[in-house]
Amino acid sequence: MIEVKDLQKSFGDAHILKGISTTFDKGKTNLIIGQSGSGKTVFLKCLLGLFNYEEGSISYEGRIFSKLSDEQKRDLRSEIGMVFQGSALFDSMTIVENVKFPLRMFTKLSESEMDDRANFVLKRVNLENAHNKLPSEASGGMQKRVAIARAIVNKPKYLFCDEPNSGLDPKTAIVIDNLIQEITDEYDITTVINTHDMNSVMEIGEKIVFLKDGLKAWEGSNETIFKTDNEVVTDFVYSSELFKKVRKMYIEENL
């Protein structure tokens, strides 16, 4: 579990995060949603330790990030897998080398053991035949799957995804969503996803944190989001006619 208490972050005079407190549960797909500029990416980067914050605390199973030594931070980071918005695969390495990279850096596995583990996770993300391609030769969906494979290859306890569906067609987006949820259940990891995608919210949002103007405006799940009368959330989530109808149907069915 990741516990966030009164997190505050500023860039100069701009107060981006104004005191966010929440928890991200183990074995669940936790979603951070909100409009552009609401502070989602800054929040995620604070969770990852890429940004320092002024106030508050982030605790990973009781380990408060800001109080850890460099060595302890390195150990904690080896427990984290991250899927970046643009995949962030290393251009100069083949797909299989990208996947093996965390193993090469942090384990003492032999080359054949690393190959076995990389083959296993590539198979898990349905990419058995792309080992020797360069990232530039792979499609957006394939790159996302490679990024997921690289994130899980070292058996992380925490998986972070920054807009994993951006730039993907709806069908591939659903494949990626399902894959992330399956992996979360299978490995019992704490998954935190930063997303705009309403399909993801409805499909895999076991816990949803809604941010607005650097504050937590609402917290719930993909079931309670249908019932909420919080205007800020309904304005954002049900901004399209399609989702308004879906909500109406859901409420009628459950009355």
């Binding site: 890429l50 080896s78 643009g86 962030a88 251009d91 090469r104 850096m105 942090f106 972070f160």
Partner: protein, 245 residues
């Protein structure tokens, strides 16, 4: 204030390069790759420029010697001094600031823009050590490039002399041997090591700390070339004062 902040960040970056070293098995491969990219990949352009500039120095010297009392061997002497003391170490380093420097800035800058550096950081890897240290080590072979430049500059002068009819080959070789001071070679290589350090670190700084998108990678490469050149010329002045005065 901005300049002071940049200098401070640059110094902190250099300290950080040597902290939390990457696994040797990984680092070894990175160093070999950077030797190929930065050293071997530069030999062609260095050889071409050195040969022809050596020839031009010889021609210019010969054409400005109209006093019959001045021995023709002075052409070889002047070419040797120009090539060894300034052309090979300094002029080639400015060219390398353009070739190698912009390569380093753009490759690290692109990694910054595409979040590859963030990916390294999230994994708990010291990205400065991973990215810059191998470049620094591989550029310690830079004196090898400069020694090739010195040799080809002098050979270029010999070719210009022989084919242009400015002096005989014997006169040129006599000039090369006149008043030769071995310390000048040591001075040139000491400068070269200093320039190699600047060539590895200043472009890396501009790539690593760049902000923005693809267009800004191009801008960072240009700025990196300007500042690397300024630093090389300044260091050249300081080292010349210290080592030759």
């Amino acid at each position: 204030m901005n300049y002071l902040h940049s200098i401070g960040t640059y110094i902190l970056m250099i300290i950080e390069i040597f902290r939390k070293p990457t696994k040797w098995s990984v680092m070894k491969k990175l160093i070999i790759k950077d030797i190929d990219d930065l050293i071997i990949g530069s030999l062609g352009i260095v050889a071409f420029i050195s040969f022809f500039v050596g020839g031009v120095v010889t021609i210019q010297t010969a054409l400005n010697m109209d006093n019959p009392l001045v021995p023709k061997s002075l052409i070889g002497f002047a070419t040797r001094q120009s090539v060894i003391l300034e052309f090979a170490p300094t002029f080639i380093s400015i060219i390398m600031a353009g070739k190698v420097g912009s390569f380093i800035t753009s490759s690290i800058g692109t990694m910054r823009v595409t979040e590859q550096i963030d990916a390294l950081e999230v994994m708990g890897i010291n990205s400065l050590n991973y990215l810059v240290f191998p470049k620094l080590v591989s550029l310690m072979l830079y004196p090898f490039v400069i020694s090739i430049s010195m040799f080809l500059g002098i050979v270029g002068g010999l070719a210009a002399c022989a084919f242009g009819g400015f002096a005989t080959v014997n006169d040129y070789i006599t000039g090369l041997q006149d008043d030769f001071i071995p310390y000048h070679i040591i001075y040139a290589f000491m400068k070269t090591i200093g320039f190699a350090f600047l060539l590895a670190t200043i472009p890396s700084y501009h790539g690593f700390y760049m902000k923005g998108g693809a267009l800004d990678v191009g801008k960072a490469s240009t700025v990196s070339f300007v500042w690397t050149s300024v630093a090389i010329i300044t260091l050249n002045f300081i080292l010349t004062q210290i080592l030759l005065s």
